[in-house]
Symmetry: C2
Subunit: 242 residues, 2 copies
């Protein structure tokens, strides 16, 4: 079973509000149409989620108690999710939408609680659940953002994924010379050029991604869009982590 993240910057044009990169999304959907194992897809927010979240001043740590803010960020993400689900459906993927705001929430300490039984049942019935970065209720903070990366980690752990894929705009984790690092077994191997990231900075940098992926049981790969087909075929393109 694979948990696959499609980066928000991969499937949208980050410089233009609520704009899907149609060609890119169609190519990725085409690759997924050829895969028939168990699969959970998670996508990021790109130019849909980020402007809405910024407009309402909501982030992973800064909450909002504005129901309007929650509705607008969530609605923007559902519009993108609709587009992704439709693109996958057009390629014969039995994709069904799963909205994290309905499913998950955070404790006072910010810990994400994501019940996976329904997603597991969905996989068992042959569906491909498609989740997305979103807002979630956060005790004592109103609602905060949950990133696609956080969802990937939580789903991979909860579902016991066999493999995790992060389809990114870059072809892998790059070293200080701009070359793809083929394998990362521990954070000390890359701390020199990725830096000592704060573990809470999960929406953003590669450093936090690498740290979170190293903690997973399952091996993870970070790769570019052109390598998705190979990844689905069992290859380990880009950077293998763990």
């Amino acid at each position: 079973m694979i948990v696959l993240k499609l980066g928000g910057s991969v499937i949208t044009d980050k410089d233009s509000d609520e704009t899907v990169d149609e060609e890119r999304l169609a190519a990725l959907a085409g690759a997924l149409g050829g895969y028939d194992g168990e699969l959970v897809v998670v996508h990021g927010g790109g130019s849909f989620g980020h402007p809405a979240a910024a407009a309402h001043g909501v982030s992973r740590t800064d909450g909002t108690r504005s129901a309007e803010g929650v509705r607008e960020v969530h609605a923007a993400m559902k519009r993108l999710n609709d587009r992704v689900v439709s693109a996958l459906a057009g390629e014969g993927v039995p994709a069904v939408p799963v909205h994290p705001f309905s499913l998950a929430h955070r404790s006072r300490e910010g810990e994400l609680s994501l019940p996976v039984e329904g997603v597991e049942a969905s996989l068992g019935e042959g569906f491909v659940p498609v989740l997305h970065g979103d807002v979630v209720v956060h005790r004592d903070e109103g609602a905060t953002v949950v990133s696609g990366d956080e969802l990937v980690v939580s789903l991979a752990e909860g579902l016991g994924a066999d493999r995790v894929g992060l389809c990114s705009t870059v072809p892998g984790v790059l070293d200080d010379g701009g070359e793809v690092v083929p394998r990362i077994g521990g954070y000390d191997e890359v701390a020199g050029y990725l830096g000592e990231s704060e573990s809470t900075d999960v929406t953003g940098g590669m450093a936090a991604k690498v740290r979170a992926l190293l903690d997973l049981e399952a091996p993870a790969s970070v790769f570019g869009p052109e390598a998705l087909e190979g990844f689905l075929a069992g290859e380990e393109p880009g950077t293998r982590i763990g």
Copy 2:
């Protein structure tokens, strides 16, 4: 804390596909705008959910493995939910959408599993979660329909509701002379005219509703749209059950 059901036939025109009864919905939203306690709203499918479910041959007991069927029934219900949430928001209710397909599923035996921790957290942050009849994944059956009535019972039990309200097209449970029965303490009191319904027939008849509501800890009231304001003010209009 109140769990309130707005019947699908109350807020939509059942004879016309995907048509909201705007005047009725506006009046109900107006009444809810004046309430400021903890509140969970559940609405039925009316002319949004039922035609889509019928088109795909999906009911509470007949499942579908068609991802397209799931997407279409769910999308129809999300369109109605959007309208309900918007109407409530327009009256100042801090309404936020919660989609059962993302949250709940059924066991092989058809038992509904609905984690309530997120809804509870949402109430604690001052939001008003608005759920709806939907499709849910059903182990070994694909996906089946979950009715608003089932959700009301599951939420009231899980959240320990203080009161349950069912806003219906009729002013209460009617006896065989067409008069509202003011109070039902046990099913034997009404079996004579409601009949011996099967307990699994929850989407439809009043008999199954009454049985399910009698099983709740919280007192429930079945009343017509004009009585919502009174119910929210603490009255027991229509029929009190339990």
